[in-house]
């Protein structure tokens, strides 16, 4: 089994899928796309199982090793991220089949033609993005990271633009953000190369010397990646881009794409930059993260559009992710990092579920104004239930992945004495409860809908797909052992949790 090129497969399979989607006529796009998604998810999960059983894997493309060739490296952290992409990606694919087909009923042929073209584009770009995301998680080379990151960013912009209309300005802004973010990152890579003479992720750390140059490299990289991850106050582009994209795209942007840049930052912190350089920057990131949690939640509470609410909630949740750069290095062992990684995967499932549910609700109601949704709950119980399951995880209530990561966060913050983090995490959970229940109350209200147009029928797949992701978010709270054990494979954060925290 170990001789199979599983890592490369995780990247090539979705790419081949995109190729097939393009080769066949447009009406087969969904068929080929779904097939490719299935095979991609299966091969990625095969890789994850292999890593969990047999330990970290390394593959050299074309037989060239580091530092000259391209090297792929998958340890526990990468495997967990690839698993997250596979699960969320598969559900989003199922959803997308129903989402794009639902427009089939359109009467005039021109409209239908547009819809078909949009569907075909979605599958091609999405499969390329999937491949690129896997490639980021498997790259062991700073420049390779840049290339794959750029592919993810450009693909994401194109996906946003698919919605047309008011999404176009949002996509434009997103394009500038993602390009400048990548450029800043590239600048940092150049600085590191000039200093250490290597691009290999795991060698650069040994070559770097503490000094002004490495400090500068870190700062430009952090600014670029934080911009792309939408850390407060660089989040301005995220809400319109995520809210105006088609629902499956919103879900994959919030769930997966922002995790990519977060992942690169974590790697930079743990293996590339020495603590003397990263410590002060980490403190700043943690404080910005705290502000983001409060500010994003507050803004979410004030939104009038359902998808804007969910998008601002992403701004808040990104804040939690950045707490780890302050907590991670300080906490005993790898507790802080684990909290962050676990938060990333549970947020992916929860937020994916919520965006998919919001898309289903919006399609049935015909708009996404929260105030005008009173009394629709009884007919749309399924998507609302899915929204609620995702919401539980955002609030950090048991049983959910969000609860586990919140517990890990508070535990490591209590251990390092960061009282302010404890307070902010607790407060952020309460604010999340406020905005989630603002939506859920709609589901329970029995108000007459006078004058409102009747609900449009939606394929039940939309609801079930959202529910499936919500169920995964809950399951992450019941079986935290396996993912956390996977995080120990290859010791991505150095010292293990088992040695570190528990007596």
């Amino acid at each position: 089994m170990s001789s199979l090129p599983l890592i490369s497969a995780a990247i090539w399979v979705p790419l081949l899928g995109a190729l097939f989607v393009s080769l066949w006529p447009r009406r087969y796009a969904a068929l080929w796309g779904m097939g490719a998604a299935l095979v991609s998810a299966t091969s990625a999960l095969g890789l994850v199982v292999a890593v969990a059983v047999a330990g970290p894997r390394r593959e050299r493309l074309g037989g060239w090793g580091a530092p000259a060739g391209i090297e792929l490296w998958v340890d526990g952290l990468s495997a967990l991220m690839i698993a997250m992409t596979a699960v969320v990606g598969l559900v989003i694919s199922v959803y997308a089949v129903a989402y794009f087909r639902a427009a089939d009923g359109a009467a005039d042929s021109e409209r239908r033609e547009i819809d078909l073209r949009r569907e075909a584009y979605f599958w091609r770009i999405w499969l390329v993005v999937w491949a690129a995301i896997n490639a980021v998680f498997a790259s062991a080379d700073l420049f390779n990271l840049y290339v794959t990151l750029e592919v993810v960013g450009l693909g994401a912009v194109a996906l946003v633009a698919l919605a047309g209309g008011r999404a176009l300005p949002a996509a434009m802004r997103y394009l500038f953000v993602t390009l400048s973010g990548s450029l800043l990152y590239l600048l940092g890579v150049v600085l590191i190369y000039s200093e250490g003479g290597t691009l290999a992720l795991f060698q650069a750390g040994e070559m770097l010397v503490v000094g002004a140059l490495s400090q500068a490299a870190l700062v430009v990289m952090v600014v670029g990646l934080a911009l792309k991850t939408a850390l407060f106050p660089l989040h301005f582009w995220l809400p319109p881009a995520h809210a105006d994209a088609p629902a499956p795209v919103s879900a994959l942007l919030s769930a997966l794409v922002i995790k990519v840049t977060f992942y690169i930052l974590v790697r930079l912190w743990v293996v590339v930059f020495p603590p003397e350089v990263s410590q002060p920057v980490g403190e700043i990131l943690m404080i910005l993260g705290l502000v983001a949690v409060i500010w994003g939640s507050w803004r979410a509470l004030r939104q009038e559009r359902l998808k804007m609410l969910v998008a601002y909630s992403t701004v808040a949740q990104v804040g939690y992710l950045f707490l780890v750069f302050g907590l991670g290095p300080r906490a005993d062992g790898s507790a802080g990092w684990q909290a962050g990684a676990y938060f990333a995967i549970s947020h992916a499932c929860a937020k994916g579920a919520m965006f998919l549910a919001a898309g289903a609700i919006a399609r049935a109601v015909g708009h996404d104004q929260i105030e005008e949704m009173r009394g629709v709950g009884a007919q749309l119980a399924l998507p609302f239930f899915a929204f609620g399951l995702g919401g539980i995880s955002l609030m950090g209530l048991p049983p959910s992945g969000g609860y586990v990561s919140k517990w890990l966060f508070i535990t490591s913050a209590a251990a390092t004495g960061d009282v302010i983090v404890v307070v902010a995490v607790a407060l952020g959970g309460l604010l999340a409860a406020a905005y989630v229940f603002r939506v859920l109350a709609l589901a329970f209200e029995r108000a007459p809908r006078e004058g409102a147009p009747p609900l449009r029928p939606i394929p039940s797949t939309l609801g079930w797909a959202a529910l499936a992701l919500g169920a995964v978010a809950v399951a992450l709270g019941l079986a935290a052992g396996a993912p956390l054990a996977l995080l120990e494979v290859g010791l991505p954060f150095g010292q293990s949790l088992a040695e570190g925290v528990t007596p």
Binding site: L397, L408, A414, F437, A441, G481, P503
Partner: protein, 491 residues
């Protein structure tokens, strides 16, 4: 042995399937629990351990105190299910209702059986989530507002509790609940931190236990359907808070450690303030369910009072009141629900002469009310007597005064209802049900309060028999107070 995790999430519309599943679920659970009770009585321990995170296990642990609470919730669940089936007949959203109803009971069982603070917090929060849909079930503006207030209180409380628990783990490391107190022996050196933590935890649990001034959500939540109010007050939410405090005192800190830190008296004083204040508020209510809500606030504080006073006798009184209050209050709520459902009576002023129309319901109500006042030989008398003698024994005579005043107040707000119902002329003739019903109301509405009223009488009369809650509690308290003190426990 994981009966608590048997969740029945029913989504189908078939009435018969749902009803059967519900009742079967309740009965199966009861049978399982009966088997466990026998085991625990013989001194056996059931324990399930399930690692959730490295270092944190989900522990379900059945010993004497948890079993008391589990039996209470299982029996009352069965009765409430029957009641709810009749009550919600022909109203929309029943599948959703019973689904969350079951989750709610599972969470309560989980709370009861939890073997460490981590598990407790987990189920405690789950309970909040499961009860919200029940509170807002009617879907009116008022119900939604009540739901919002309910969440604001309980989620804040839950978050504070979680933080406190994590903090405690940071101070002393992970531990399980232990009869006699897990912290008692080892942690003399963290006195100050543990004292602060104690109050933080009591305050956060006090939100659900509705200790004044944290009780604001309870009267508002009265818009929920009657079976929900009944369950909320008798077993689920309010009791979960009270039960949490009980476990905190006995199984986390341990009674000696609490006394050592001087925490008990403060707790007792807080409880006393709650008792008096809530009784006064109950006096001025006109809506029947609101009055019952304030009465709950005051009655649940008895449990805390008993725990706070310390000493075996007061503890017996406090813990046994956990059961007695549940049974009495559920009777009262069933009756209030019957009045509202059958005759549309929501206010106390409307109850004139109602006993002629609904004699059985009012008889049950009277039993419950008299029990609350503490008239012998009903269940309430037993707990008040134990509390009183306990107060005297533990050298807190002021608590006797609290008990006397509150009994007088209880009488002052319950007796007028009874008086009106029996001895005043109705304002206008009662509407007759057009359907030819043989009983004064639907049978599944009538039986539950009558049964629980019989329990109230039985628990009072047969208090000294082996199987009464009182004897069980004495067994339990004897285990909590080892050594010579246990002699005093066996009255």
């Amino acid at each position: 042995m994981i009966p608590g995790l048997a969740i029945f999430l029913l989504r189908e519309d078939q009435v018969i399937t749902r009803t059967t599943l519900n009742v079967l679920g309740a009965l199966t659970k009861l049978a399982l629990i009966a088997a466990m009770v026998l085991g625990v009585y013989r001194g056996q321990l059931y324990e399930t351990r399930f690692p959730l995170m490295p270092g944190f296990d989900l522990v379900l642990h059945a010993s004497a105190l948890p079993m008391l609470f589990v039996v209470l919730s299982a029996v009352l669940w069965l009765i409430t299910t029957i009641y709810a089936i009749g009550y919600l007949e022909r109203s929309p959203g029943r599948s959703r209702f019973f689904g969350f109803f079951s989750v709610c009971v599972s969470a309560t069982t989980g709370i009861a059986l939890s073997g460490n603070l981590f598990t407790f917090v987990l189920f405690y929060e789950l309970l909040t989530l499961a009860t919200y849909p029940l509170v807002v079930h009617r879907g009116t503006r008022e119900a939604l507002r009540a739901g919002k207030i309910y969440l604001a209180y309980t989620l804040t409380g839950g978050t504070v509790l979680m933080v406190a628990v994590v903090w405690m783990h940071a101070v002393v490391g992970p531990f399980d609940f232990m009869e006699g107190g897990a912290l008692a022996t080892h942690f003399e050196d963290h006195r100050q931190a543990l004292t602060i933590l104690f109050w933080v935890m009591v305050a956060s649990l006090g939100v659900k236990a509705a200790l004044v001034p944290l009780h604001g959500w309870l009267p508002v939540a009265m818009v929920a359907p009657a079976p929900v109010s009944a369950l909320l007050h008798a077993v689920a939410v309010v009791k979960a808070g009270a039960y949490g405090i009980v476990r905190l005192v006995y199984d986390v800190y341990g009674i000696t450690f609490v006394r050592d830190l001087g925490l008990g008296t403060g707790l007792a004083i807080w409880a006393s303030i709650t008792i008096i204040y809530a009784s006064l508020r109950a006096l001025s209510q006109d809506k029947l369910k609101r009055m019952l809500a304030y009465s709950t606030v005051s009655q649940v504080a008895y449990i805390i009072l008993g725990v706070g006073l310390g000493g075996p006798l007061a503890s017996v009184g406090g813990i046994v009141h956990l059961v007695h209050q549940g049974v009495m209050k559920i009777t009262l709520f069933f009756c209030a629900g019957n009045l509202a459902e059958t005759l549309g009576i929501h206010r106390i002023s409307q109850t004139r002469g109602v006993a002629r129309r609904m004699p059985w319901t009012m008889a049950a109500f009277t039993v419950g009310a008299l029990g609350m006042i503490g008239v012998p030989p009903l269940a309430g008398f037993i707990s008040k007597w134990s509390l009183g003698t306990g107060a005297a024994a533990s050298g807190s005579p002021w608590a006797l005064a609290v008990l006397a005043i509150s009994s007088a107040l209880n009488a002052a707000y319950f007796l007028p209802v009874v008086f009106r119902a029996y001895f005043q002329e109705p304002l206008r003739p009662w509407p007759r049900e057009s359907e030819a019903e043989r009983f004064e109301t639907h049978l599944s509405l009538l039986l539950p309060p009558v049964i629980t009223a019989l329990f109230v009488i039985a628990m009072g009369l047969a208090a000294s028999s082996t199987w009464s809650p009182l004897s069980w509690v004495e067994l339990l308290v004897a285990r909590i107070y080892p050594g010579p003190a246990s002699g005093a426990g066996g009255m």
